[in-house]
Amino acid sequence: MAQRENKPSAFDIFIIAFLLTASVLSYVLITVFFYSGRAEGAVIEVDGKIFAEYDFNAISDNKSVEIKTDFGYNIVELEKGRARVSYSDCKDGLCVGAGWIDKPNQTVICLPARLEVKLKGRSRVDRVSY
């Protein structure tokens, strides 16, 4: 069991190379096919259920949405074509740190609050599937 050297084996390097290649490849494919086009609206979901839905063509310049649920308190800011979580009472604050999103299918998620802000729009995937 005792291992003299603590160096990666050929197998380790294969695993690492495989994971890195697969991730980078799928990341590129996702950005090219999934997150392309223009965002036309936003959906706010809490705990898997739709909380509110907005059409960017129908809103005036800025809109601030307060979401107060059993899971937490968040404020979502909407502008034409983009959205972000501007305030959250969760501890890690990752959702606020994620910043603005402006492509269809992009999401900002706040796991403690079970909140998901998702942009709608036509991406290449939609064009293929419709």
Binding site: K7, A22, A98
Partner: protein, 169 residues
């Protein structure tokens, strides 16, 4: 004979307790390390060193017990109930994967590879749970990013555990 088996049981119980504490302390230390750039969901996972270390020394079953206990106590310290679901699922899945890899592929796959696979499977489990809780499989689009981080963090924790094992024997 009876006394001997009892003392072995006690020794294992003590090891589980001590190692759970070590894991929690590592988690606390990690939470104090400032990270200059925002990597949502990405972390070093120092406590994973304990899991990688326990699998070859006292066995996967005990490693699993320690991982679950640590995840429960850790989420009491840092998160809420939601946090506990993620931590426990990640801990269970990654420990099972690491034990299997150790059993079947060690030493062809070293502790570095085990650490990487453990970190990656931790993220896969958590992403899966997140997609279930939000009932949206779009969460998986974030997984490649998490796996790239886990290659580095898991490689580091695996290496660290390998160093400890090397000096134990």
């Amino acid at each position: 004979m009876k006394l001997a088996s009892k003392s072995i049981k006690l020794k294992r119980l003590a090891t589980v307790s001590v190692m759970t504490c070590v894991g929690i302390v590592l988690q606390i230390i990690e939470s104090r390390i400032p990270i200059p750039i925002s990597l949502p969901g990405g972390k070093i996972g120092l406590a994973n060193i304990v899991s990688v270390l326990l699998i070859p020394t006292i066995g996967g079953g005990y490693a699993l017990a320690v991982a679950i206990l640590r995840a429960l106590v850790g989420s009491m310290l840092f998160g809420g109930l939601t946090g506990a679901i993620y931590s426990v699922s990640g801990a269970v899945f990654s420990t099972v994967v690491m034990t299997a890899v150790y059993k079947w592929f060690y030493p062809r796959v070293t502790f570095i590879g085990i650490g990487v696979l453990g970190a990656a499977s931790h993220n896969i489990a958590q992403t899966f749970i997140a997609s279930l809780m939000l009932s949206d499989f779009g969460v998986f689009t974030y997984l490649p990013f998490l796996i790239i981080i886990s290659v580095f963090s898991g490689g580091f924790t695996g290496f660290a555990a390998g160093e400890v094992v090397r000096h134990l024997k």
